[in-house]
């Protein structure tokens, strides 16, 4: 019985189809008679469109339609709005006197291109080859203009928007500026660093794509979209077309990875919908890989001027940051989120009495940025964990001792952070100890000496982290349970798995709470016609929030069914309890199974809201607070000083995610996050040239980790139940990506310190490490 329940390493229900090659991703289906579409993209980062002649393409073989920005504007198709403005709270908000300059991305640009890859024209033809050939016949005359791509150069660079000449979309601040200034004035020591969080490209292995169908008889669209947020995409489509949401059905099957990049509505989805409506045929578009690099929103990209004020006992008095965040050319759907979510975590696991972060979110001639695994939290944690190491070095304290001295003490919980978060109790010190033991940190000096004897530099890096995730701040998820007369249960849920294994996780909850075997459980996600509402998947909230909704719906279902069972058992309702898959009369052996109760309900004429006979229950769960997972990462690296090559020798992470729903799925989430964080730290460099051309637009140029780049991961759960939801769990999807970049770079800096390198920015590619070593050698006159 227990094999499929909670806390068990249940292998996934998703696997049989995916392992046999029977998954259904967007490019695995083509409706009969579908047309194929291709996007013509801007070749310049910044240019005026002097003229555009689409006529040669319109007359090309097989072409059914060509759309330009002018066509779209004439058709009244709106631009994509930002769905989350910079937050205003008691602790934070837009700077006084400033305002949010939202610049919305059109599906097709009409007069001026603002990043390489921006959509200029959309060609629809009978075959993809015909559409490709025709797109090359479109004649566009561009007047190139100067471009700026780096966020801290943006305020002095060529304006992306003429009416925002300083290239600032918004100035936002959090914390207490006056208290922070006085703490700095009284400081014994100030530690300063300029810290760069490199721009990341998300690279889910399945590229984005869309198939749009228009049903003229009902005036409705069906859009097949691999997305993390089906209902969010539907809402955005309705906004763009200026119609009601009921006009769209968004359908999602298997999603080949998301990581935040498949959260929002993109131009090509709008274009497919326009063409399907106009042409009365299905229209399919799937990005090739270079389009994915050029057209998918990017992540991270932040420059932080950070300062720590210390007293004479090496305790932190205050933290101050001046951040430049790169929004790209437009405010993406959730573009304002990472720059404002990162500073929220700036105090991390430490007691920092005063804090102030000033953010300038800047426009540049680059692809818009949007959430990427952690959505700002990894950026914020990276800055503070780098500063902690820098401060330890400058005070001569061991980095771990320095951190211990500044941890939020156990008696301070529940703890209100200077950014306004209310942390659940966290056992920071114990988790550090556990990680040290597991990593055999005591043996590190010997391992370093051994490496040195062989001419290699070995370093140990630590990073602590705590984050807020798993819902909160008014987010909710809804769960519908539909019971068939034979006792089979269908769960309709608004979250959307894109690799996490939700079908399995939700099935485990229903198995545990209703005693149903998996074959009697069906999970429905990704169909906005069947699932009434949905927040979708992001922010590590699917199971804390969606799982909570399922538990509450089960409770309601049991209450709904109990009178029917009681009637059948000829007992009073209050004497009936639900246990081990059956309603039982307390203190007797009288019982009726869940399935028999369901059959009886149907026989009595109970009808569900979908018209079918049977029972149903609905629940919405809105967590009262976020969940606060935390942990410690230890990374050991070896650097070859001759080549600059960095090898991860060992990696240990200890994390508190509350109760563990499925240790296999949990390890999968943590490992994946670690790999993405280590990729950003060691390998992945998004490079633009001076004219704004994206140089890293293939897997040969943008180096994401391969099997021989990564170590075995030591991951250990540390369990304290979360108070925030019925399953006692904390969000786990983003933790790995938050802890691993600072752990890795602190390790690299620890290794390089003996060679005179005391500052270094990600990524630690061999060339960059080699250059840092060389510069230090020249500086020392060696």
């Amino acid at each position: 019985m227990e094999r499929f329940g909670l806390s068990q390493p249940v292998p996934r229900r998703e696997d049989p189809r995916l392992l046999r090659g029977e998954g259904c991703f967007i490019d695995d289906r083509t409706p009969p008679g579908a047309l194929h579409a291709v996007v013509l993209r801007a070749p310049f980062a910044h240019a005026r469109i002097a003229s555009l002649d689409a006529a040669p393409a319109r007359s090309a073989p097989g072409v059914r339609a060509v759309y330009t920005g002018a066509d779209l504007a004439a058709a009244g198709v709106a631009e994509v709005a930002c769905t989350a403005a910079p937050p205003e709270t008691q602790w934070s908000g837009i700077r006084e006197g400033d305002r949010f300059r939202e610049r919305r991305q059109p599906a097709l640009v009409a007069d001026r291109v603002r990043f390489v890859g921006e959509c200029v024209a959309f060609v629809v033809a009978e075959t993809r080859r015909q559409a490709l050939d025709a797109s090359e016949r479109i004649e566009v005359d561009y007047d190139p203009l100067p471009a700026v791509t780096a966020c801290d150069e943006a305020p002095h660079g060529p304006p992306v928007w003429d009416d925002a000449a300083d290239n600032v979309s918004f100035r936002w601040e959090i914390g207490d500026a006056a208290a922070t200034s006085s703490a700095f004035a009284a400081a014994h020591r100030i530690v300063r660093r300029r810290i760069v969080n490199n721009r990341a490209q998300l690279c889910p292995l399945e590229t984005r794509g869309t198939i749009a169908e228009y049903h003229a008889h009902t005036n409705r669209w069906t859009l097949h979209v691999p997305t993390q947020m089906p209902h969010g995409v539907r809402r955005q489509l309705a906004q763009v077309f200026g119609v009601g949401e009921e006009r769209f059905r968004v359908l999602v099957e298997d999603v080949g990875g998301g990581f935040g990049g498949k959260n929002s509505l993109y131009p090509e989805q709008i274009l497919c919908a326009v063409a399907a409506r106009d042409l009365g045929r299905s229209v399919k578009w799937v990005a090739d890989r270079s389009e994915a690099f050029l057209g998918d929103n990017h992540g991270r990209d932040l420059v932080s001027h950070a300062e720590l004020a210390l007293d004479a006992e090496h305790r932190v008095l205050a933290l101050r940051m001046r951040n430049f965040a790169n929004l790209g050319a437009y405010t993406a759907s959730r573009g304002a989120t990472p720059p404002t979510l990162g500073p929220l975590m700036a105090a991390n696991t430490y007691r920092i009495p005063a804090l102030h972060v000033d953010v300038a979110a800047c426009f540049t001639h680059t692809v818009p940025t949007d959430p990427y695994r952690g959505a700002g939290r990894p950026e914020g944690l990276y800055v503070v964990e780098r500063l902690m190491d820098a401060a330890a070095r400058e005070t001569g304290l061991d980095p771990v001792e320095f951190r211990r001295r500044n941890l939020i003490p156990p008696d301070a919980f529940p703890y209100r952070s200077p950014t306004g978060l209310l942390y659940d109790p966290c056992e920071f010190a114990q988790v550090i100890e556990s990680a040290f033991e597991r990593a055999d940190a005591a043996g590190f000096p010997a391992r370093r000496a051994e490496a040195k004897a062989q001419g290699r530099l070995r370093g140990l890096g630590i990073a602590n982290y705590v984050e807020r995730c798993g819902g909160g701040a008014g987010l909710s998820e809804r769960s519908d349970l539909l019971v068939d007369p034979d006792g089979a249960v269908t769960l309709l849920i608004g979250s959307m798995s894109n690799g996490q294994g939700h079908e399995t996780a939700y099935s485990q909850i229903l198995y545990e709470r209703l005693g149903l075997p998996f074959e009697k459980i069906r999970i429905v996600q990704g169909d906005t016609d069947r699932v009434a509402s949905g927040t979708g998947t992001g922010g590590s909230w699917s199971l804390p929030m969606g799982g909570g909704a399922v538990v509450h719906a089960v409770d309601r279902l049991v209450e709904t069914a109990k009178p029917i069972a009681a009637d059948s058992l000829e007992a009073a309702v209050e004497d009936v309890e639900f246990r081990d898959g059956a309603f039982r009369v307390a203190g007797t052996d009288l019982a009726i199974s869940f399935a028999d109760t369901a059959a009886r309900a149907a026989a009595e004429g109970r009808v569900r809201s979908d018209g079918a006979p049977g029972l149903e229950a609905v629940a919405v769960f809105e967590p009262g607070n976020y969940t606060f997972p935390y942990g410690t990462h230890l990374c050991e690296v070896e650097v070859d000083p001759e080549t600059g090559a960095v090898r991860i020798a060992a990696y240990t992470a200890v994390h508190d995610f509350g109760q563990v729903l499925n240790p296999l799925l949990l390890a999968g989430q943590v490992h994946g996050g670690l790999a993405q964080g280590l990729g950003q730290a060691l390998l992945e460099r998004t490079a633009y040239d001076g004219e704004g051309q994206l140089l890293s637009a293939s897997f040969m140029d943008y180096c994401i980790p391969r099997a021989d780049d990564l170590p075995d991961f030591g991951f250990e759960p540390w369990i304290t139940p979360s108070p925030g939801n019925p399953l006692d769990i904390k969000g786990c999807g983003e933790a790995g990506a938050a802890g691993s970049p600072p752990a890795a770079i602190n390790a690299v800096l620890d290794a390089l310190a003996s060679a005179g390198v005391h500052d270094f920015d990600m990524p630690a590619t061999p060339e960059r490490v080699w250059r840092a070593l060389r510069a230090a050698r020249i500086a020392s006159g060696d």
Binding site: P11, R12, E14, D15, P16, R17, L18, L19, R20, G21, E22, G23, F25, D27, D28, C203, P204, L205, E206, D254, V255, G256, G257, G258, F259, D288, R289, S290, N498, G499, Q500, G501, L664, L665, A667, G668, H671, G672, L674, A675, Q676, S698, F699, M700, I704, P705, R706, A707, D708, L710, D712, F713, G736
Partner: protein
């Protein structure tokens, strides 16, 4: 020019009319209709399209269909027999070697090729053999465990003939 191409696909001989310039990947997905083999990049960078040709792993996105004339091609659809997963698939299932599942067919075929050549590969050998396949979800640890599981289970099976096949 279109020619008749005769080859073995997943154990069965077949003949298709194939233009000279069609890649094996597109032929398998679009003409034959086997969509298990995936397109992950613009050519030779990610391994999602890995199939076996005469038992060796090949990137079908860099292979012209015409070059498999008279040869044997195996795709991920060939592995499960009679409804049972092959060892390597079972390993991916038990150890969570797959998350979103998009790179999975390519990784399974690359792993299958490795195990045929080296039934007892070390962790380093597995990391090297799978180095041409990109997975963005797993961090590879669980994939390596999956391959080791398949190697050990396969060895255990051949050691005890009483065990049912697969």
């Amino acid at each position: 020019m279109i020619r008749l191409l005769t080859y073995r696909l997943n154990g069965r001989e077949r003949t298709d009319a194939v233009p000279d310039n069609v890649l094996l990947l597109d032929h398998l997905r679009e003409t034959v209709g086997l969509t298990g083999t995936k397109t992950g990049c613009d050519g030779g960078e990610c391994g999602a399209c890995t199939v076996l040709v005469d038992g060796a792993p090949v990137l079908s996105c860099l292979t012209l269909s015409a070059t498999v004339a008279g040869r044997s091609v195996e795709t991920v659809e060939s592995l499960a027999e009679g409804g049972r997963l092959a060892f390597i698939q079972e390993g991916f299932h038990r150890k969570l070697g797959s998350q979103c599942g998009y790179c999975t067919p390519g990784l399974i075929m690359a792993s299958e090729a490795l195990l045929r050549q080296d039934p007892d590969p070390s962790e380093d050998a597995i990391r090297e053999a799978l180095g041409s396949n990109i997975c963005r979800c797993t961090g590879y640890v669980k994939i390596i465990e999956a391959v080791r599981w398949a190697a050990e289970s396969s060895a255990a099976r051949s050691g005890s003939p009483a065990e049912p096949a697969r």
